[in-house]
Subunit: 231 residues, 2 copies
DNA sequence: ATAATAGTGTCTGTGAGACAGTATTCT
DNA sequence: AGAATACTGTCTCACAGACACTATTAT
């Protein structure tokens, strides 16, 4: 604890400084489930426990660049949806010292996921948010918070599209909502709502799977969605 | 810029560390206007420019404690509404070096404001958000962002009550909304809405000012407001 | 024909927003 | 009586949510 008292409002540089990290809650929808990327720790503290990926912010980069860099290192994916969540700085959140972390949410679409293969030695894996190990540090708290935010944002921003390929059917879109909200939605009301929002565009293509009627394919067009106040 | 590359996922302590500050956008409603507290800088950089109050986070305290401490130092007020806004870490945002800041929004009610008198030598003053000097550092950006958030939150959380004394009339409450949103509201619709929300309680008291009908006094009771997902 | 999924329309209730006149107090 | 502010009710429209049947394809 620093005891020194400075004149009010005056900046100086001889205060003790925290280590600054970014941590990422990386979501995807896969196998009909909402999943997050976790990494198994191979050193103390919390050795052998799972944690969300993260790393130090370097001087000269923005926080967002640091988050993107970590994201790329862990997943091999670039240019995906990334949003600052919250900054956690509780003393004692890292037993080794003063570490403040800026947490981000990242969303990877299922087709980008195919690029993800180059995982090296480290133990990295996707877990269902509904069935996952207990996390290291304060990562449970970060995850809880991120999930609340993700669900809330579903209502008033087009984040769900970040989890789908460019082309998708309305049923696929509905599944994304259902999986994240963890409840079933009425098909007629859902379609009515989505079509009224004017953010998706019909294509002439149809998707045909099995022995049933083919589904029309749509594209995300992002026109008048109630705009997030963050933008 | 640190060049060293570490094994993925491994924490260490020999990275360069940023200075960490908290900055506060402190709002109040006063003289029929939305005001923020600004401090005139008395040293370089940005000497003689106005800035939002802030200061270093100390090891051993939470970010919120740091924000509360700064708040108390600047205003003499404790235990008021405080909310983390966003963390700003653009390289170059402070010309003297690497300084990351966690920005907070604070709301002071007009009656708490009366306690505020002990401002020492420093040049501290309330400015209308609609008529204020250009701010130092990236504080314009922080202010813009905070105002968007404050306005958005008015719609779905009872933050407005934080700016009023415990007892208030419906007209006073409406004025808070009008001043923050910078537009007039329909009196009948406003009252209908507020009363339907079940978050204010009628008292038996009346407020009588001038030569006109007295106004009923209400109290904030916080029952079923659409709950913020942050809570 | 059957199985499987895609696709569609109506009704009801609720809330938002537009809109104007009466009530009470003081001087 | 007049000035000033408090207080109130109705109508319309849009949206949310409940709800069930038809359409198309492959086998």
């Amino acid at each position: 604890m620093v005891e020194k008292v400075l004149p009010k409002g005056e900046y100086t540089y001889d205060y003790e400084r925290p280590a600054l990290t970014v941590d990422l809650v990386i979501y995807t929808v896969k196998d009909n489930d909402l999943k997050i990327l976790l990494i198994k720790r191979n050193s103390e503290p919390f050795k052998d426990m799972w944690a969300i990926p993260g790393g130090f912010v370097q001087n000269g980069e923005t926080l967002e660049q640091a988050a993107n860099r970590e994201l790329f290192e862990e997943t091999g994916v670039r240019d995906i949806y990334l949003e600052q969540l919250y900054t956690f700085g509780e003393p004692g959140r890292d037993p080794r010292g003063w570490v403040v972390t800026v947490a981000y949410i990242a969303l990877i679409s299922s087709d980008n996921l195919k690029l993800f293969a180059s995982t090296d030695a480290q133990d990295v894996s996707w877990f269902s948010v509904y069935q996952k190990p207990t996390l290291a540090f304060d990562h449970e708290k970060i995850l809880d918070y991120s999930l609340k935010r993700l669900r809330a944002k579903l209502d008033y921003t087009p984040v769900a599209f970040q989890l789908l390929p460019k082309k998708f059917t309305l049923t696929e879109l509905q599944r994304i909502y259902e999986i994240i909200l963890n409840k079933t939605l009425d098909k007629r009301n859902f379609r009515k709502k989505m079509l009224s929002l004017d953010i998706i565009k019909q294509t002439e293509e149809m998707k045909r799977d099995g022995n049933h009627r083919p589904a029309r394919i749509y594209t995300f067009s992002e026109r008048k969605f109630p705009v997030n106040y963050l933008s």
